[in-house]
Amino acid sequence: MSALIFAPLLIPFGCAVASLLARRNVRLQRRLSVAGTGALLAASVGLMAAVLQRGVLCAQAGAWPAPYGITFVADILSAVMVLLTGLMGFATAVYSMASMDEARERFGYYPLLHMLLGGVNGAFLTGDLFNLYVWFEVMLIASFVLLALGGERAQMEGAIKYVTLNLTASALFLAGVGILYGIAGTLNMADLSLKLRDTGHSGLVTCVAMLFLTAFGVKAALFPVFSWLPASYHTPPVAVSAIFAGLLTKVGVYALIRVFTLIFTQDIPYTHTIILWAAGLTMVTGVLGAFAQSEFRRILSFHIISQIGYMVMGLGLYTPLALAGSLFYITHHIVVKTNLFLVSGVAHRLRGSYDLKKLGGLYASAPLVAGLFLVPAMSLAGMPPLSGFFAKLLLTKAGLEAGQWAIVGVALAVGMMTLMSMTKIWAEAFWKAAPGGAAGPPPGRRELFCLLAPVILLAAVTLAIGLGAGPVLEVASRSAQQLMDNSAYVSAVLGEAGR
């Protein structure tokens, strides 16, 4: 059982070490990265199946019993996130083979990619707050280097903003952890849940909750602390952008959902109302920011922000249906957003630019790419029967049931504006006639396969989530129940004492 939980951590770190050892042999590193992420995907499918069958799984590192040692826990939420990490890692690894330049490959791109995946998985699986901080740092350090690798001026500028804001957030997180240890004398999340349950409306606990909201809010790019994201995500190579866009902010959202369902549930009317406001403002600012842009990846970056608003909205509403909606949204969003970035890379490869003014004519010259763009783009905007429609439908229904008309109105309006923004990309990059200017040499067959196979895979997953919305919703609902009634989580970690 513990092998299932530790495999998603050990595989990426093993691959990182192996790729470092093979640093002179780029071809071997490439094969290793595809094989390693493939193995990671298989391991996470195994974990998912086990969690669905047997409920919350738990493993103690070093066999120290629960509140004293470091605990790793896999409930449905964690397992789904790990599964998505595996899938995105695999898609990015295949895509990198054709899109990453050899200089970056030589300077450790693949070891860093594995390290990043390992850090992300650690953050999803740990059951200890300080350990969560450590995993965040593992992930951040890998992402810092991936972002700056190559040393172009734009990358440096983006990386400064990214590094500064994320380090500030980490310091806030650490301060929150320290105060929480002072209050409760434990950092095991399940144990904290029990200990803080009895404190009632304590001002200090709410204050710490706000520290955590700020720290994770920066990492998730919530309003008003999102500005590092559009300043940095369009600067690295597209494969790096894609894995960042899919996974990193979602680690912040995951951490928010985890602590605000398991630990900080003392003063829900206060804390979760603030979260709901932040969600609404995040949606609106994100989508308005996207209108002002005319660069493919910057538009997509601003849409990440607005979509984060939807995911956090479900947490703010705090009903089982709303949380299920949030989980559905996260699942849908990770797949779709990574895919859109990958498509932007294909467009760049074919036309040599990310600027919408210089792009054009792709519908005529590459109809398959145009079709592959439409699937995630329309899903992002929420057109039926794609995955985004059901995600928005669930959140809308939950909002109406909770009587929060304003946020539902905002969510629907932002959905409409997302559609307008996606149509803009479609019209500019795909539909209008190609402007003059040099396009690169046409890609060879092998390169084309590596670029398009991940895009097709992720588009197929988007379609599957949309057409098979029933089973996905069932898993999301089960997960939401686990989150609302956290007794299963607590007793899996602490045993009988945790009842």
Partner: protein, 115 residues
Amino acid sequence: MENLLALVIGVLYAAGIYMMLRRSLVKLIIGLALLSNAANLLIFTSGGLVPARPPLVAPGRTLPSAPFADPLPQALILTAIVISFGVMAFALALFYRAAEEAGADDLDRLTGTDT
């Protein structure tokens, strides 16, 4: 002792945030270092101060005699120090490269990716 440490932590946070709000890259990184040290001291203080009572087990016993200093916050701080050390080293290299690329250590001139 708690009051003194609380004061020190407050001053460190204030100084750190002030430095981060300046335009110079060098001051920004000093501010970051101050901020992470303030957080470490905060953990140390909120973990509870028990002076001159190390958590040592006397011969022939299985538990240290109460009251004793909690060793866990110090273990946490040690981990945090190591991490922030590594991150600072990276940040210094990055900021140096950026200043070299831009030809200045002025943050207001590093706005190429903002709009």
